[in-house]
Symmetry: C2
Subunit: 391 residues, 2 copies
Amino acid sequence: MKIAEVEFHYLADDVIRDIGDGSQDALLVHVTMDDGSEGWGECEAAPLVSIAAWCCPMSHLACKPLKASVLGFEIKEPKDIYALTEKVRRNSFDLLQADHTLSGIDMALWDMLGHKLGEPVWKLLGYKRAFPKTAYASQLFGDTPQQTYEKAVRSRQEGFRAAKFGWGPFGLGSVQEDWQHVEAAREGLGNDLALMVDAGTVWGNNVARATAIIPKLLECKVVWLEEPFASGALKAYAELARSFGCEKLLAAGEGSHNPDMACNLMDFGKLGFIQIDTGRIGGISSAKQVADYAAQIGTTYVNHTFTTSLALSASIQPFAGLENSPWCEFPVESAPPARLLTKARILPDANGEVRLPDAPGLGVDINPETIARYGRKVEIRYEENTIWSTK
Amino acid sequence: MKIAEVEFHYLADDVIRDIGDGSQDALLVHVTMDDGSEGWGECEAAPLVSIAAWCCPMSHLACKPLKASVLGFEIKEPKDIYALTEKVRRNSFDLLQADHTLSGIDMALWDMLGHKLGEPVWKLLGYKRAFPKTAYASQLFGDTPQQTYEKAVRSRQEGFRAAKFGWGPFGLGSVQEDWQHVEAAREGLGNDLALMVDAGTVWGNNVARATAIIPKLLECKVVWLEEPFASGALKAYAELARSFGCEKLLAAGEGSHNPDMACNLMDFGKLGFIQIDTGRIGGISSAKQVADYAAQIGTTYVNHTFTTSLALSASIQPFAGLENSPWCEFPVESAPPARLLTKARILPDANGEVRLPDAPGLGVDINPETIARYGRKVEIRYEENTIWSTK
């Protein structure tokens, strides 16, 4: 069967706030095959730009719109989806946004193939089992240590076994203020819950500033320090990783938009944890390549997910079968378009664990009412032609 | 003075062919300050997608359109342009295309500031002198070794002291066929001209396939082998660089869309030559950062340019003062929109050397007739609003 149509749905909340919450909009991808099979996927961030990457005119041989590679491509089995990734990367490697657009398309194809074959995606990826993952409540730091403390208490009350705090004021003020936030988080969680800290790349490549927070992180038994530096600052990661007491403490990778970038962070940045956003790295095919490599070299794989249950399912499938990668990012502060996207949500159980749906494909059903309510119209015209228009 | 307006001009040839010629379209950027000062820049490839990155709605704190950071930003001196780069990268780091859009805006700001202060850009960058660069005629391999031979003869006749061949059939067939092309190029150039070979990432991360061509490259006294692998395949680069006779032979970097990526290629990929496209890496500010680092660690900096005299000037300025980086990519097969963009073209002199124009800013004048002839209309609508429209 061949790819017959790719539809994009741009969802956005009524007001987009200037905060680090990536769930305020979404770009849904719906793929239909020529035999009527269908599947859903999701691209992370900047929906309009990713739509433009689908429909733009060709610039040259290695800068083609996604549609040039995707429409009409034949998909019979998993290896065909991997082959499409190769084709898109070859045809569009000078089109920077291409990897983000590819991500949602690739997800939708795995979902489609799973439904077609009656299997969950993790089985198609070759795993024998899908291990439950311990969900960590992923949230922003409070504006004050007191607010951070209250958020931590709430995560504990909600039954989470782990929580991560990030962004907000962290790293922008003094080291002392950062310490207070980390202490407040640990106090609110109690001693038995796992705590992770996300610096959101705030220190650029300033190793000294990052080093100053390490003693407090170790004292508060933080599982990892995430993104102290920009995604590509490999030397800074390596230097911090080599400092005393810091082995295996660093996590990063969400900015990777192809497997090479993630592998470089592991090989040269000496991470303990590699975090992959399936909506950015090129989709499930690319994420699985990273998971395979992480398992091979003993780095712990973690999903990066801050949006919908669709994105959550797609982000867990690539490492579902890795027993030694036990954590799962679980967004707890999602905005309405993300929270309401699927008919049922994937939620942690009473043990604070997330299990993938026992259903074909990605195992989630899209709620058409949410698309109708939050869907936004886009139209792109080139010369005298409409090259994209929301239906 | 503050940035008052940013205008984009999407130029494209009447027919875009499916070949590796990046000069078939262009995205020109025209910046106007609130005191009337103005400047021109150019983004590499996928013009429509880069325009979308300028005008799209915000997704969240770290995924804003470029216009949110750029409009109203105050520029008085060079350090302000660097500060704008920082701001854009912080505000748009989840918007993958942002770096390409930033590239043209940054160039235009340096051009503007140079005109305002009556200085060429290389002086504003802190260089005392602009050294002439030896132009290499940058072109595609012929379809057959005979055609490659004829192209090489032509480059010699045109007075070039160096030529680079890339893409076309190279690397796609047998090693034997690749050898024939390299031999034909050397024969056509004669023994006294420099020869470079560009594999155009054709071997992905296949070190063995790349290794097979090395003996012939050494026999034919090739200056460098460019992009045997994908931009981010650092381990493959490092492995090939370590092989016998291959030290300092490898060149890459054109795909870098921020300085970290380029520095990683030097630090971990062990390149001899780092090639930067000022239209992709984030503009002149980012390119200069790479040039500084290359000079510091003894890697040779080379521009990557395949389009206009505007792009050529902008790509030479960042390494104009580096005497030990003597090569300059010079596109010899540009399509009409690129060839006709500027009133005068920057051309090699009788010694085959390129000199930057002795004039303020980037030193080139845009030809309005070319914009009128090859300019393409774009309109982007979001909900009920036109968020971009070509004037």
